[in-house]
Symmetry: C2
Subunit: 321 residues, 2 copies
């Protein structure tokens, strides 16, 4: 284990997380579409994390953190910053445990995501839509409340929780040869690496990223973390940069990082809504967009795809005129 100043979660941590969070998360179904399979030239198995009650896989890591707190810390609650779904999911988990949750969100975050945080009793403090503003604002909020900082992805409890998703996927679908998940800060991908590197090391792990927020792809090629302060993409869940813990997993276990344009992401999103008939957000469409763009790489394979979230503003769909 490299010394990166933080505990790297283990496979056993992931197993413990799955036991801990079982009462609070759903074992989400896997959807298939013959039409999309024919289009992609491979067999796609979509793990529907958008079907979690708060609409995103992040309820896994958030629940693992919240329900792992001792009573003294739980009384002070939790705090975080997030572009959206982590905020909703942490608020949701905190509501289930009955403890306070403070979140810092960019003022530009979709209204649907702010509404969800508030519905679950989360208290929002708004910041500018940049990593620097977010971190400054958070420091102030966290100091004032004493809430335990549950980072949206660079936290071993969170990564262990996210890893439970691919554990379920492997239990649900036999013979997977690759898994593709979106990458923002890298929490889902790190959890996937954590689980599959022990459970099924032969399975290839692809991270999918918007071209317009391709800091992880550039980091992967450069061999060190490259962070952009304020990228712009419709995939608003993927704006944040890698951090040391997630970089550890990405640099060690990821097969490749593939990118897609904004238009390709919207096309893939609409295809999924139409043929899988599930509501998912733009970030969740990036994997299919990259698969359709890299048919040779996936030809004939059995490919798991993580649909990470489904919190989208139905009044502002990206294909609306």
């Amino acid at each position: 284990m490299k010394d990166i100043g933080m505990e790297i979660p283990t496979f056993d941590d992931m197993l413990a997380a799955h036991e801990r969070i079982r009462p609070y998360v759903r074992r989400t179904p896997v959807r298939t579409s013959d039409y999309l399979n024919a289009l992609a030239g491979c067999e796609l198995f979509f793990k529907c994390e958008n079907f979690q009650e708060p609409g995103a896989f992040k309820v896994r890591g958030a629940s693992n953190a919240v329900f792992g707190l001792d009573e003294a810390q739980a009384a002070k609650g939790v705090a975080t910053h997030s572009s959206g779904n982590h905020a909703s999911c942490l608020s949701y988990a905190a509501m289930l445990r009955g403890i306070p949750c403070n979140v810092v969100m960019p003022r530009t975050a979709p209204q649907a995501k702010k509404d969800t945080v508030r519905r679950y009793g989360g208290v929002i403090t708004e910041c500018e839509p940049s990593t620097s503003s977010r971190e400054e604002t958070f420091a102030t909020v966290q100091a004032a409340t004493g809430g335990d900082f549950v980072h949206p992805y660079n936290d071993p409890r969170v990564i262990a929780g996210q890893g439970t998703c691919s554990k379920e996927l492997m239990e649900q679908i036999e013979g997977l040869e690759a898994v593709v998940a979106p990458i923002g800060g890298g929490g889902m991908i790190s959890g996937t690496c954590l689980t599959l590197s022990t459970l099924a090391p032969e399975v290839e792990i692809y991270a999918a990223e918007p071209e317009q927020a391709d800091d992880a792809a550039r980091s992967f090629r450069a061999g060190y973390i490259i962070a952009d302060d304020a990228p712009k993409t419709i995939a608003d869940g993927l704006l944040v940069p890698l951090k040391d813990l997630t970089w550890h997993f990405v640099s060690t276990h990821v097969t490749d990082i593939l990118t897609a344009s904004e238009e390709e992401i919207v096309d893939a999103m609409k295809l999924t809504w139409k043929h899988l008939r599930v509501v998912m957000e733009p970030s969740s469409a990036v994997p299919l967009a990259t698969i359709l763009k890299n048919r040779d790489r996936f030809a004939g394979k059995r490919v798991g795809v993580i649909i990470t979230g489904g919190n989208v503003d139905l009044d502002k769909l990206p294909w609306a005129k």
Copy 2:
């Protein structure tokens, strides 16, 4: 058994249908939402027939008819008239068996539904959007092709097939006290009655209908079939009237028929997209609309809801400005 000039399908027919169609249809998952439960004041279990490959429960009845044909008739194929999903699903089943399928559709049917029929190799002949025009045009098409007429609902093979949906629902969810499904011609409701009247006669069966196409509700109260020629509602799957076979089941086993306004249907549709995160068509939103309108009747109960279909034109969503 009353003599209604047609064979009334039996519980054993439904069981045989389930065996026959098993390779061609999906055992669809059941979705829940804590949010919608709180809103409705009861426990809702949504059976996602929109997740069938061709996007609707009608693949059950269509597959039962198509795969039950003898070789001689199969060579001539099948023919039908339908406001949309039966046409798609019959085309799909015929494609799986490799036989011809001719369908008569109203020219006003959603483009998405016409596209789906053609994708599955169905040949469309258009008619005016009225029951009378539909039946006239169909007689011409059917005489020309010799295809076996698979009526969208008034056919014992079709009703037996649709009944497999509530059989699965009862296997998936314990202790259901009521089931609510949309009613147009009555195929799904009849299949539900067929199955539950034997399997779980204590379960209440509610049919849900648009106020603007409430012919089934008026029939139910009058005690005889009332048919409107060309009702207008956003729930375009529910435009057709009851026929003798479906009237038999509706008049014998249905607890009540509830109605909802166009606005209530659109609101329920949007609620479902947002909180269940599934793409469903307006017809499928009528049950939730009626449940939210009749809270007292369902208070505290465990209620199954059939999401009948998910073929919707994403470019013409009813809440778009």
